[in-house]
Amino acid sequence: MQVSDEVAIDIRNMNKWYGNFHVLRDIDLTVHRGERIVIAGPSGSGKSTLIRCINRLEEHQSGHIVVDGIELTNDIKNIDKVRSEVGMVFQHFNLFPHLTVLENCTLAPIWVRKVPRKQAEATAMKFLEKVKIPEQAGKYPGQLSGGQQQRVAIARSLCMQPKIMLFDEPTSALDPEMIKEVLDTMIELAEEGMTMLCVTHEMGFAQAVANRVIFMDQGQIVEQNEPREFFNNPKSERTKLFLSQILGH
């Protein structure tokens, strides 16, 4: 688990509004290559919005976001470049139900990266093996269990060979038995040194793999620290309250 000095994501002074509602306030965040960051916080605190800003699924209104050296502006080319460097896994998987698992995985490489189909399929199979479901390649997403679907979603992102992966509560829509298989996949990824930002409430996962835990509230970063310190010795009152709720449960 090496963290380099190279900066992968650099967010400065970033603000975002929904209409008149100030969702993200003066966000400053630097992520280094190979870092694994877990973002936690109460519901509505802007966690999802933050990571969706990073691949421009949401537009920020002031400040700067630089991903892998590319600043996110309204320039479509930059956005495209950033998006093909950044993979994203959603809470509800968002697999394409009309395509087989394999097609889900090869769609973007073929149409965005212009990879020959054969090669795209080979890569896809490699990643499907990594998430341990190569035998499901020919099935449709609707035929898989939730855990399997989420693993396909991860494989689909990996097929674009992104430098950074974003996860937005990847396990919260899953049945308890299936959470483990997805978390295992993510831990494996982390061990390979992938730069990851993960919104999650799985504190076990945070303790196991994160370099840093960021706690957000009311659109602001309230506290950040390495996991051990964060859990054992939270500084701010809000963090304490939050931790008592989710851990005491």
């Binding site: 495209d80 959603f90 609707g142 992102s157």
Partner: protein
């Protein structure tokens, strides 16, 4: 497999007809069958007795008698000397013409309106809402009458095109005249006419038409082949060659050559006597009916399209964006294939409705099957039983073939699930 028999402990008793699940459903069905048969027998018997009392019979012989009336718009040659059967055929073709044209136009209108209703542009979205609500909540008959009235009241009569200072003028380079009777459009003439193929029953097809059909089909196949070839290249190398100019070429060049070969040109309608001649006069009845059916059905289709697009969750496009797909690609590869599954079944039932609603042609004097077989023929021969049975049969066959097509499609695109 092994023994599937019932435990042998229960010998048959009559009470099992009612109390045993297996026999009860049979008993019930037998009773229903008897009742239905009795009803059918009763109806048929009544009909026979009524026919006898009126001294009539059930006989389709009238179809071969001389019709004696004229029809304004005949896709196949027809005069008043032809039989009622041929008149019915003309009517059926007219029904098909307005239905097919209507389905095509309604789809276009519906897709545009449905997409526009989802537009972020406030004005456009509101306008489309007004359109959709106005057409959905007012009887179709009213729209047909109003559109027809607009044509008769607003358009100029043919003789307004006459004289030194005509009050009306033709449009599209003097090729088309909009009058309150018909829209006169040019016909096609050939300097090098290859003659025509006789299909019997005075129905002919020009060899030129056939040639065009062949060339167009061949062009289409060629286009598909180019597409497949491009796909192959893409699969091999990853980048897709630009093919649009090749596709355009195979689609158009042969046709252009044919046009040149046959010396195809437009013969514009000219005003002669009371009316325009030389061109093709498309009756306003047809145009009004077509337009009203289009706008009315279009409003329903707009709702279907809107619902279909909304049914594809936002997450799908976000996932595609997150993968780096451009909006256009996202639409083609992700949104449309999913939306279509939702859209097509209700869309087809709108086609069905449109076809059935075309029977309102009676309100604007457009002679469809209802106007010929179920109208004038019925009236002149007094064969209401035969004519209506035949007419309903025709509509039924039309509907059933449309819904058979729908079921086939549905079975093919159904999403696979657990």
């Amino acid at each position: 497999m092994t023994d599937l028999s019932v435990p042998a402990t229960t010998p048959f008793r009559p009470s099992m007809l009612i109390y045993d699940r297996r026999y009860r459903s049979m008993t019930f069905q037998v009773i229903v069958f008897i009742l239905v048969m009795a009803l059918a027998w009763w109806l048929v018997n009544n009909t026979i007795r009524n026919l006898a009392a009126l001294g009539k019979d059930f006989n389709f012989g009238f179809l071969w008698q001389r019709a004696g009336y004229d029809i304004p718009q005949t896709p196949i040659p027809y005069t008043s000397n032809d039989t009622h059967l041929r008149a019915a055929a003309v009517g059926l073709l007219n029904t098909l013409i307005v239905s097919i044209l209507g389905c095509i136009a309604a789809t276009v209108v519906g897709i545009i309106a449905g997409v526009a209703r989802l537009s972020k542009n406030w004005l456009i979205a509101r306008l489309m809402t007004v359109y959709v609500e106005a057409f959905r909540n007012v009887p179709l008959l009213l729209w047909i009458l109003i559109v027809f009235a607009i044509f008769t009241e607003v358009m100029p009569p043919p003789n307004a095109f006459r004289g030194e200072n005509p009050t009306a003028s033709m449009i599209l380079f003097d090729n088309v005249a909009l009058t309150n009777r018909y829209t006169a459009i040019p016909t096609l003439g050939m300097t090098n006419d290859p003659g025509s193929l006789d299909l019997g029953a005075r129905i002919t097809i020009s060899w030129a038409t056939l040639a065009f059909a062949v060339v167009l089909v061949a062009g289409w196949i060629a286009r598909r082949m180019i597409g497949a070839w491009a796909q192959q290249i893409q699969d091999r190398t990853g980048s897709r060659p630009t093919t649009w100019w090749m596709s355009l070429g195979v689609m158009t060049v042969p046709s252009l050559l044919l046009i040149w070969y046959f010396g195809l040109h437009l013969i514009p309608p000219t005003l002669k006597g009371f009316n325009f001649t030389g061109g093709l006069n498309v009756q306003n009845g047809l145009v009004a009916l077509w337009l009203a059916l289009t706008l009315y059905t279009g409003a329903f289709i707009a709702e279907i399209v809107r619902a279909g697009i909304l049914a594809v969750s936002r997450g799908q496009s976000e996932a595609a964006f997150a993968l780096g797909l451009r909006p256009g690609r996202t639409m083609n590869l992700v949104i449309l294939p999913q939306a279509l599954r939702v859209i097509i079944p209700p869309l087809i039932s709108q086609y069905l409705n449109l076809t059935k609603n075309s029977s309102l042609a009676i309100a604007v004097g457009y002679m469809d099957i209802k106007g010929t077989l179920g109208g004038t023929t019925l009236n002149q021969t007094g064969r209401e039983l035969e004519a209506i049975v035949l007419m309903m049969g025709v509509y039924l066959v039309l509907s059933l073939s449309i819904s058979a097509g729908m079921n086939l499609f549905n079975a093919r695109v159904k999403l696979k699930e657990r």
